[in-house]
């Protein structure tokens, strides 16, 4: 114990001839409560130790000090950043003895500046969906007042968490439909197995105020849409395994399918190409979509990642350019900063950063055994 007792003494000692000033013990860094636009959230799915995942906060524009910190994310967790409160939310699952014992599902609430856990909301029913990290497995809706968390046990539902009250205020049945795409003023849409969808609006108390059953807008047997769309101005750009864009207008409480169009029409040079990866589509918020693609499409090729990132014009409804990432891409997001960037998880599970012309800028690792399947931009 002498060590501990002596430390205060050491701190009193000035650096007689020293150039390097003394550090203050203890010192713990903090972050700004408002993150810069170039910071992203990289979610390590941690397959080699599923109970010990994390979400790393990374400045993809930085060539130094790019890793800002991390919060835990256990057992197929999901992650959300609030745009109205200085908070981060991790929906996760723990067992009392690590890999066995009593199960507890929670939403862990972190302060953006300190990354301290400031609250915990227990999710009832042992039913939180455990899916390899997908952004639409939990979302913030309304004015980010409700966090909705997808349940699958295997009945499907949505837990509605009032983030201010720190409590679960509702559980909404999803009739077997899946995932949660923010919709209308304070609602969400879930996709169903036959290509149809269900859209639910909540009132200010989080109670269900409307439910809309939408007709099938794609053939889930012959050409299913990826369950990861990019949402631009309230319109979800779904893309099918075979490269057809199928937009769904989520701006109102009764979403409507919009005109679909193919990235890879027969006869075109891309006729046998297909999207491939995890987060396979990104948007600049304007006209351009970015889609990870690979030639030689076949059944089962949709999740391998792709050696090409295609630039797709929404207005022209076609591929207008492309570039080859330095390592095949698995997930891509658009980082809407002063100099906009593309952040790409590559198939080696590190993050490559490009400018929007496809020029490679830097590579970032979030850890030796980390597998950042999912990237989320600052909201």
């Amino acid at each position: 114990m002498k060590t501990v007792l002596l430390l205060p003494l050491l701190l009193l000692i000035g650096a007689v001839h020293a150039q390097v000033p003394l550090d203050k013990v203890p010192t713990v860094d903090t972050l700004p409560a408002e993150y810069p636009d170039t910071w992203i959230f990289a979610h390590d799915a941690a397959f080699y130790s599923l109970i010990a995942g994390k979400v790393a906060i990374v400045d993809v524009a930085a060539d130094t000090l790019e890793y800002k910190g991390a919060v835990g994310a256990a057992q197929f967790a999901t992650f959300n950043e609030s745009s109205t409160r200085d908070e981060l939310y991790v929906s996760e699952t723990f067992y009392s003895r690590g890999v066995s014992g009593e199960r507890t599902d929670v939403v862990s609430v972190y302060a953006k500046d300190s990354l301290d856990k400031i609250a915990e909301v227990v999710l009832p029913g042992d039913q939180r969906a455990m899916i390899v990290t997908k952004p639409y497995a939990s979302r913030l809706i309304g004015d980010d007042e409700f966090l909705i968390v997808y349940n699958f046990n295997p009945a499907s539902s949505a837990a509605v968490v009032d983030v201010a009250k720190r409590e679960v205020v509702n559980e909404v049945s999803l009739n077997g439909c899946a995932l949660l795409y923010p919709t209308g003023e304070r609602g969400f849409t879930s996709l169903c197995g036959d290509g149809s969808f269900i859209s639910i609006q909540l009132d200010e108390q989080g109670k269900e105020s409307s439910r809309f059953m939408g007709k099938s807008f794609f053939n889930s047997e012959s050409d299913p849409v990826f369950d990861y769309p990019i949402i631009v101005d309230g319109i979800a750009y779904f893309i099918t395994y075979n490269g057809v864009i199928r937009p769904l207008d989520l701006r109102g409480s009764e979403p409507a399918a919009m005109e679909s169009w193919s990235l890879v029409p027969e006869g075109s040079e891309y006729a046998d190409w297909g999207p491939s990866g995890w987060q396979i589509i990104a948007s600049d918020g304007d006209d351009m979509l970015y889609v990870i693609m690979e030639p030689g499409r076949f059944d089962g090729s949709h999740k391998s990642g792709g050696g090409h990132i295609m630039m797709v014009s929404r207005s022209k409804q076609s591929i207008v350019g492309s570039f080859e990432p330095v390592t095949p891409a698995f997930s891509v997001i658009y980082v809407d900063a002063e100099e906009p960037l593309l952040a790409v998880t590559n198939v080696n599970m590190t993050i490559d950063v490009y400018n929007t012309q496809g020029e490679f800028l830097r590579n970032i690792s979030i850890g030796g055994s980390a597998m950042p399947f999912t990237l989320q931009a600052k909201r």
Partner: protein
């Protein structure tokens, strides 16, 4: 035609177009069977042989190939750490784990007898990630809104502990030859 054939035929109709390039995989769709383990490191797919893992034979007549390799015929739609590398086998869980009651079922063609077998990809649950022989073949994989055909879902959800350890590829039926 027995009951299984009937079920599989019914299920397969909708997925004829999904027949694998390699010609040995079709997959049962929708809510009848299906589901799967954990999806995986995209760089580790379809390769034969893992460093530091001994070759295996199943020891069963007419069951060719190496159950510790990702291209073993039963694994035509597997997704996870191979239980055969983890103290179990293609047809059993490692000691101390629990076989998940929910599962999904793929159809794999045995190259030796030319028959299509129903393969149940039961997960083994309750111990930490095995960490050996990560294998991922996505043929027939469908998005999460078709859960029983999706391999992003942790199918340990029905086990006492939902912590995923590894995946099996159990022979649970036979469909007959190509059709």
């Amino acid at each position: 035609m027995n009951i299984l054939d009937s079920l599989i035929d019914k299920a397969s109709r909708g997925v004829a177009q999904r027949t694998s390039r390699r010609g040995f995989l079709t997959k049962v769709s929708a809510a009848l069977f299906a589901g799967a383990a954990i999806p995986l490191l995209p760089v580790a797919r379809g390769d034969n042989g893992y460093p530091g893992v001994g070759d295996q034979v199943s020891g069963i007549d007419g069951d060719p190939g190496d159950p510790s390799a990702c291209d073993y015929w039963r694994y035509c739609a597997i997704d996870g750490f191979l239980c055969s590398c983890c103290g179990g086998s293609a047809g059993s869980c490692p000691p101390g784990t629990e076989m998940s009651p929910t599962t999904w079922i793929g159809i794999c063609k045995n190259p030796e007898d030319g028959l299509n077998y129903a393969i149940s990809y039961n997960d083994c649950c309750g111990k930490t990630s095995c960490g050996r022989c990560l294998c991922n073949n996505n043929e027939g994989d469908r998005p999460v809104y078709m859960p029983y055909a999706n391999n992003d879902i942790n199918w340990c959800l029905g086990a006492k502990s939902t912590v995923y350890t590894c995946s099996t590829g159990m022979v649970i039926g036979v469909r007959g030859g190509d059709s």
